[in-house]
């Protein structure tokens, strides 16, 4: 196939990068996806991507399943702590529609509507925080557990967005209205917890913030906040010698949510020396309560309430994607997300068309919440208009509990 044909196929493909901005999947392919043969396209997609540089998958799986976490399981993850530990997940689903060409009479412009639900968690944590939570403070007798710096954000929200896509380049811009379902976050800048011999003193040196949306409820559909966000992609096409490639800049969910007046917050910058609850008469211990309320009072952990505005866990990425032959594509992308514990993630992608109906791909990533990951993906055209996609972000994670990171994505698209 000559260079001209490669460029032509590339242009016809409309877009060469994945539409699955949260999940490294497959690009559109001019032969498999038949991009020029449909006016409208409806896509439904669901995905989960979990990753960590410290916690083996068996731990979050046990948490998810409500298991009793045996000590050796917890110790395995403890042994893998790095001092800069992170973990997080991105769970979402959305339905999108891209309409017919020539919106507002402009050739190549297509309307787009997207309804989405998303839940994210990002955290970074000190080794001692993990040990304290999963093994208690007794191992720290006569020593100090330094549980900071640590931080986390978890957020659930729904959005409906309206935008315009340039069918020729794949660039788009979309404005979303966002409903906040729930949110909580912490930022522990310093938390040194000293346990004296025999537990005679708990000394806490704490500098931390905690926020949460209205704790009265966080079920799906509950409106605890409102916001807006902007998502978009800009694609710039170039040639390197005879090889066409795209420079792609992507931003997703760049916006905010204003959580309502019932949101709660607490800031503590204090030193607490706790030697036990003082009782007036040791001979009258009836009703002594070893409970939450007394601890909350003692450590001053009662909340205040008030509206909070937070940034969404947006994602920004820069990438290059090139046609490497008639059947091959390859690229590299670097991305960052607004989540604690997430470090810049570099991903190499490649894909190959298999016949005229299937497309297989692989990607190799490093960074983000975790370490090195190897993912696979496949798409198949069923008939002339239905497209099914399956992908995983880390192949070993599907079969091995003692690895880090796991993810899967499924999408179904119909063009008409």
């Amino acid at each position: 196939m000559g260079m001209t044909r490669i460029v032509a196929l590339y242009i016809l493909s409309g877009t060469v990068l994945s539409l699955h901005a949260q999940f490294h999947s497959l690009p559109l392919d001019s032969v498999v996806d038949l991009p020029g043969s449909w006016s409208h396209r409806i896509t439904a997609e669901a995905y989960l991507d979990y990753n960590s540089n410290a916690l083996y998958n068996e731990l979050p799986i046990g948490l998810l399943q409500g298991d009793f976490l045996e000590r050796d399981l917890r110790e395995r993850s403890q042994d893998g702590l790095t001092g800069r530990n992170s973990a997080g997940y991105d769970l979402g689903m959305h339905v999108s529609w891209v309409g017919a060409d020539s919106l507002f009479g402009r050739p190549g412009w297509r309307p787009m509507v997207r309804v989405a639900n998303r839940e994210v968690l990002g955290m970074r944590f000190a080794d001692d925080l993990y040990s304290l939570i999963f093994f208690g403070n007794a191992p720290y007798e006569d020593s100090t557990a330094r549980v900071g710096p640590s931080a986390h954000v978890t957020m659930r929200y729904q959005s409906v967005g309206f935008g315009v896509q340039d069918a020729r380049s794949g660039s788009f811009l979309r404005l979303d209205l966002v409903q906040g379902q729930s949110f909580n976050a912490s930022d522990i800048r310093r938390a040194d917890i000293y346990t004296a011999p025999d537990g005679r003193l708990i000394d806490v040196d704490l500098l931390a913030d905690y926020w949460s949306s209205d704790t009265a409820g966080s079920e799906l559909g509950r409106n605890n906040g409102l916001g807006m966000s902007l998502s978009g992609r800009w694609v710039s096409r170039h040639l390197a010698g005879t090889t066409p490639f795209d420079l792609v800049a992507t931003v997703q969910d760049l916006g905010f949510i204003a959580w309502n007046d019932n949101a709660v917050r607490i800031r503590r910058d204090t030193v607490i020396a706790f030697e036990g609850f003082n009782v007036a008469n040791i001979l009258d211990l009836d009703g002594v309560l070893l409970g939450e309320d007394q601890l909350l009072d003692t450590f001053g952990l009662r909340y205040g309430t008030g509206a909070i505005t937070t940034l969404l866990p947006f994602r920004a990425a820069l990438g290059v994607n090139a046609f490497l032959g008639e059947r091959w594509q390859g690229g590299v992308e670097i991305e960052q997300r607004n989540l604690p514990g997430f470090v810049p993630q570099v991903t190499l992608t490649s894909s190959r068309r298999m016949g005229t109906r299937a497309l297989l791909g692989a990607h190799l990533g490093y960074g983000g919440f975790g370490l090195l990951r190897l993912g696979l993906s496949a798409r198949m055209r069923i008939g002339g208009r239905v497209f099914a996609t399956l992908a995983t972000s880390h192949v070993p994670g599907l079969a091995m509990g003692r690895t880090r990171g796991v993810g899967a994505m499924a999408a179904l698209a119909v063009g008409f």
Partner: protein, 535 residues
Amino acid sequence: MKNASSPVPVASICLAALLVAGCRKDAGPARWDVDVLAPLVTTTFTLGDLIADSLLVTGPGGNVSLLYRSTLFSVDLDTVLRAPDTTYYYPGAINVPGPIDFPAGAGIVNDNDVTRFDFDDLELRQLILREGTLALELTNMIASSMVGTFSLPGAQFPGGGNTLGATVAAGSPASPVLQTQVRDLSGVTFDLRGPDFNSTNTLHTIVAINLDPAGSGAVVTDQDSVNAQVTYSGLIPQYARGYFGSRVLEVGPEETDLDLFNSIIGGTLDLDEVTLRMKITNGIGMDIRIVLGSLQAVNTRTGTTVDLTHAILDGPINLNRAVDLGGAPQPSIYQNVLDNSNSNVDLFVENLPDKLSYSLDLFLNPLGDISNGNDFLYYESELEAELELEVPLRLIADELTLQTFATVDLPGSAEAHALQSGDLRLFVTNGFPLQARMEIDIVGPDDSVWENVAVDGQIASGIVGGDGFVEASVASELRAGLSAAQVDRLYEEGRFRIRVIFNTADQGQHLQLLDTYSLDLQITLGANYIINGDD
């Protein structure tokens, strides 16, 4: 608004997000065990924690004494004077067949009489009532309305007037008509000397029932009648004067509870000095002689009884009559002091009684009517014997055992609880001249022992100097392990029974307790705890 959902240390808020994510599914929250080590309670124990402050007296130098007051017995108004409810009938009828035509205003009953009250052996000349009612009930079977009056010439009502009147409508033998009139007797003074002022317990009364003067008269046969019923009820004297009789009241054997030593369940207490003051107050205007038959210290736990020996048990106690101040009595007071030198009161107290048993005879007016009928009593008058026990806390304790129960309100339930097992550690700094050891059991609702919690270590005594006072406090450490089975018992309505066995540091001499003595205690817990185990 709900606050933080876990009592685990504050650092957990970071990973809480992961837990929330992991726990929100139907599978329920994940669980895992952690080992926690934390202080639970701190306290400073003083004598005031063992004995109510109101019972402690601090003397010069900080010497502490126990001062306990209790009423041995009391005799009040009811014992001396009872005024039973009393009813009198006044029938009115003709004793010929009739018919007789009575004009309007004609009298059917006209009875100038007296009412005699039954006050047992008392011969009262004056009675002022605090409460009571007088009811006049007329039953009319005559075909004319009737007017009845009941006069009490010997009574003075606070509002004036001493007549009670009622009008009853016409009736017949087949359908008699009733009418009742009630008058409050509060504050009424009865002159009980009768119409001629030479009697006792006697109240002059006049009953009159006439046909209604405004009516038209009536034809009366021997089948017709009109009756009056007068009832005195609920009489409570405010004041009584007269001769109260010469009689004997037997009191007891009776028991009165003594809660002073309730928490002591074993061992012996050797007291250096005990003083028992007996104070008898006579607020009745009557001479009284008391013959004390017995006074015993009863320890129902050990089954031991100690009889008090003292001169007051050998001879009578003569109480002078109170003085009438014209509105209140001025009581006469008898006092006697029992101590180690004149009685066995130290042994009496060292028996650690939980009950006092006594029997006595009260001789009222043992010399007869020497007041010439001027015995008196007020509503407030009473005869009361009080005991005041003063014990300087200078003692020798030998295996003296105090017991207390503690129900710990633990989170979770018997089916699911986070606390699995634990190790209680007690850190004691003792400033008392007493050494102690602890016994901890878990007992059921019926106090039966379910589990014994082994306690390692003892509380060492403070260092006692040559003067018998504590020179320095001494630190000790005790440990008590709670197994998983024992923790389960606490969730099955079990509770702690804690016994502390005291021994004075020097068993050869009495040691004085000072108000400055204290014991500092801190309890910590090392426990195996299951996160989300309470769910």
